[in-house]
């Protein structure tokens, strides 16, 4: 299959050369920005580290270096599999690992990058993630609009050989 990117799509692949569907949203309205600002008050202990950007979403930050947004759940599973991500136990989590949040139906609903080891008492790390079209946020993993009740940590532990 020939992958033809459109104006809002870039060439993006997994380690094994599988195309990753992606899309860059180009607009965010002032209405939305104002509303986001109101909601910030609900997360007083979070640090909002960038300006709003619709170009990439949380998965674009985690898996595509902020270049574009990844919106298909299937694509995320492909990336995790092809790139050699392995599940990590909470007690073994280190900075640089990724955190995946699952919704109640088991679908991936959010992702981010771990910034600190989980604290010994509550076992909750500090993470950075992108909240929708809004800003990148540094927050405790349980202090965000996503379901912390079902999370997993992953790390690329070894290289995956690219087939000839």
């Amino acid at each position: 299959m020939i992958y033809i990117p459109n104006d809002n799509t870039i060439a993006l692949q997994t380690r094994k050369g599988t195309d990753i569907p992606n899309s860059q949203i180009l607009e965010i309205s002032q209405f939305e920005i104002r509303q986001y600002t109101d909601i910030e008050r609900d997360y007083r202990y979070a640090v909002f580290r960038t300006s709003p950007s619709p170009i990439y979403n949380c998965h674009g930050l985690t898996f595509a270096s902020r270049r574009t947004g990844i919106y298909e759940i299937e694509a995320l599973h492909r990336i995790i599999n092809d790139d050699g991500y392995k599940k990590i136990k909470t007690e073994d989590v280190l900075p640089g690992d990724i955190i995946i949040y699952y919704g109640e139906n088991g679908d991936i609903e959010h992702s981010g990058v771990v910034l600190s080891k989980p604290d010994k008492l509550l076992k909750i790390p500090l993470v950075v993630s992108k909240w929708g079209k809004y800003r990148e946020v540094i927050h405790m993993a349980n202090n965000c609009p996503y379901n912390f009740g079902s999370i997993e940590y992953y790390r690329v532990t070894n290289d995956v050989d690219r087939p000839n």
Binding site: I25, S29, F31, E32, R34, Q35, Y36, I39, N57, C58, H59, Y71, E72, I73, G103, E104, N105, D107, I108, E109, H110, S111, K130, W131, G132, K133, Y134, P145, Y146
Partner: protein, 149 residues
Amino acid sequence: MLIDQTNLKYLTAKYLFSNTPMYLYQHYRRNVSLQNLAIKNKPETLAEEFKRITSKETKSLEETVTAYSILMSFTFLDYGKAFELLNSLAVSKLEWGTELKDIYNANKKVWNILRLTPVPLKFRQEQIKSQSSTNIVTLGTKPKKKEVS
């Protein structure tokens, strides 16, 4: 106002923080106010409101959320009506309108009802020609005259 302020605030937050269309779909499906929206309003009325909003060049955030809410409220109708409505509307005018429609179509369930009719069992009993007292019962065949050696 089609949706009360409390639910509108909830739906707006979910819209703003959606990272994928599936997230928006799942959380809007869980919101009871959208089910009520479908029950308390005529589909044609909701469809007209959807068209009015999506025909605007600049939509307020409340209008955008309302349009998504109307679209999702149709998924609570019976499949035939929902299919008809979703295909009649220009859902692509919403950023994730097409994706939400595709998710709905992919998640529709087809129910098969399997009705089991009890079948009378016939069996025959024969005694093994030995000193043992074991009986062999074979199901599904006509009864045979008992032979005793």
